[in-house]
């Protein structure tokens, strides 16, 4: 009954809603190729004298290519670290019992509850005493382990039957081999989900890089963008050009990994 063909009105409403979701992106793009946008009170939906001058100015005044690379590098490294550290820990919590393991796991879970804001001041002091203010290592370090990642992968590992690794144990395989050759390949979907989450979180993270990075050339995309609007208060074409540049890599990634991202998010709600 419920799955009857929806009415045309519903189709149109959904389409209109989707347009509203996409319009801000389109408008940002249109603005970025309209020099002098932000000065006239009547917006031009299709710019008459379209030009890429805002992009040229942007790359001229800011080391923008460098900044995009910075963000990319940090996001990739964070993701790799989280995949390695989380999967190793998840293996212990799923396959290697020891006394007090539940307590250790509870401590891991508890760290998920602590908001970043609570940690900001002591972390800043810690990084300062280590001499890591204004360095990538300083941005990277607090994010190399993720309790969420451990939890996610442990759930996935628990759902794999133990017969396989027991057979491998009889054949003389140690834990490192069971981990690498049997368990890891079987939790690939969960690894993909974690990859997407880790990458997105790092790519979009703002508060911590804002606090720790000083040198303009070292800044990450969100931090540089936030600074951009302070410099060019009325030059909206430049600000929007910066926004477009930071959307594009994400958009490319999104188009190819959309299914994984959405399934990953949908899965988190069902647990």
């Amino acid at each position: 009954m419920r799955k009857q063909r929806p009415s045309i009105t519903l189709n149109i409403l959904v389409l209109l809603g989707a347009l509203m979701m996409v319009f801000p992106f389109l408008w940002a793009f249109v603005t970025s190729i309209s020099p002098g946008a932000g000065l006239s009170a009547t917006p031009q939906l299709i710019p008459e004298d379209a030009s890429l001058s805002a992009y040229a100015q942007l790359f001229d005044r800011l080391p923008f290519a460098q900044i995009v690379l910075n963000s990319l590098l940090l996001a990739v490294l964070t993701t790799i670290f989280q995949l390695v550290t989380s999967s190793l820990a998840a293996y212990v919590f799923s396959r290697m019992p020891f006394k007090g393991r539940n307590a250790v796991f509870a401590v891991y879970l508890a760290t998920m509850m602590v908001p970043l804001q609570v940690l900001v001041v002591p972390l800043f002091v810690e990084m300062k005493s280590l001499g890591l203010i204004d360095t990538y290592l300083g941005v990277l370090l607090p994010g190399i382990a993720s309790a969420f990642g451990v939890f996610l992968l442990r759930q996935a590992m628990n759902s794999i039957p133990q017969d396989l690794d027991q057979a491998a144990t009889l054949d003389g395989a140690g834990h490192f081999r069971i981990f690498g050759l049997i368990v890891l390949p079987l939790v690939r979907p969960a690894l993909a989900t974690l990859t997407v989450f880790a990458f997105l979180n790092s790519w979009n993270s703002f508060l911590w890089p804002l606090i720790i990075l000083r040198t303009p050339a070292l800044k990450t995309l969100p931090v540089a963008l936030a600074g951009l609007q302070g410099q060019y208060t009325t030059q909206w074409d430049i600000v929007m050009a910066g926004s477009v540049v930071s959307i594009l890599p994400m958009l490319a990634l999104y188009i190819f990994t959309q299914k994984y991202i959405i399934q990953g998010v949908a899965g988190t709600g069902l647990k």
């Binding site: 799955k3 801000p24 550290t85 796991f105 001041v121 309790a147 628990n158 703002f206 949908a266 647990k271």
Partner: protein
């Protein structure tokens, strides 16, 4: 909390082997295996345990220690006990920050939930281009908060923004949005709801797809209409997903910062100063690290209590299949 329950149901592993090797001659070999097992565990755990210890657990307690002192991040610390806390509780700026944060949540949550539910219901039918639509609605979710804030600042620009221009076309004089103290919070709420709509939609859609079809068929046979089915079947069956959305929205809502920082910076006239913005300002603008740490602990406890209340209260309205 299934996580904690099933962690016991494991294979005995090498520990069981060591127990079987009770003979005196085998003693040494058993200790060797045990040591090797312990070392393996250490090798697997250390890469995550050390960072969590140094970058989460220790800083968390350090923050509590700092919150008991007066400190400007550089000079010596001065012990003040709980003074920072009592100062904050009676401080009008802090109260304002909490009020603005609650304002944000009260405005944001219904908008994003009702909107997300409407789209999820629409996409749960056999609509044309379903996965494309889902992808489009989800697009803002993967965009960074800063980009969202900048784009919406431009859309909602009072004099040259397109929203006020469109409003002008239908004869409405648009408000000053983020430049007007009365409209700064609504501007932030609007941008945030737009960004998170797709996220809520995907969670609810997954919940909707898990509802068995025969429930609807039985209800229709019994003569239940469209609205009756929504309120008597869909919403109760969807309550676990709803619970997840509400808990997550509250946790994230109390920590709202990025979009506020980039859209208004807490202004104009402190009208959108939220708690985390206040923590940031106290630390890095006024050099009051002690008070900032106290405020962050207050926020943490606040979130913890609210989450616990919700987990307790869920029995009353959340139905797990």
């Amino acid at each position: 909390m299934t996580a904690l329950q099933n962690s016991r149901a494991e294979s005995p592993g090498p520990t069981a082997t060591t127990k079987r090797n009770q003979g005196p001659g085998l003693r040494r070999k058993a200790t060797g295996t045990r040591l090797k097992y312990a070392l393996t565990i250490a090798a697997f755990l250390i890469p995550s345990a050390v960072p969590l210890l140094f970058f989460t657990i220790i800083p968390m307690f350090a923050a509590f220690w700092i919150s008991l002192n007066q400190w400007n991040l550089v000079g010596p610390m001065k012990w003040v006990g709980l003074d920072n806390y009592s100062k904050l509780v009676s401080d009008p700026d802090t109260q304002g920050a909490f009020l603005h944060t609650i304002y944000y949540i009260v405005g944001y949550l219904p908008l994003v939930y009702v909107g997300g539910l409407a789209i999820a219901l629409a996409l749960n039918s056999r609509i044309k281009g379903r996965s494309l639509m889902r992808g489009l609605y989800f697009l803002p979710v993967v965009t960074s908060w800063i980009v969202v804030a900048l784009v919406w600042r431009w859309l909602l620009n009072p004099s040259t923004g397109i929203v006020n221009w469109l409003l002008g076309l239908i004869g409405v004089a648009g408000p000053g949005w983020w430049t007007d103290p009365a409209w700064s919070m609504p501007s932030i709420i609007l941008a945030s709801a737009w960004k998170d709509l797709g996220f809520v939609m995907v969670i609810l859609l997954a919940g909707l797809q898990a509802i068995p079809e025969d429930l609807y068929e039985a209800a229709t046979v019994d003569g239940a209409g469209r609205w009756r089915r929504l309120f008597s079947i869909t919403l109760p069956m969807l309550s676990p997903s709803t619970f997840f959305v509400v808990v997550l929205s509250l946790i994230n809502g109390f920590q709202v910062f990025d979009q506020v920082y980039a859209m208004t910076g807490g202004g104009p006239n402190n009208s959108s100063q939220v708690v985390v913005q206040q923590i940031y300002d106290l630390t890095f603008r006024y050099g009051k690290a002690g008070e900032a740490s106290a405020l962050s602990w207050l926020l943490f406890l606040f979130i913890l209590v609210i989450t616990l209340i919700q987990v307790r209260g869920q029995k009353k309205w959340v139905h797990y299949a």
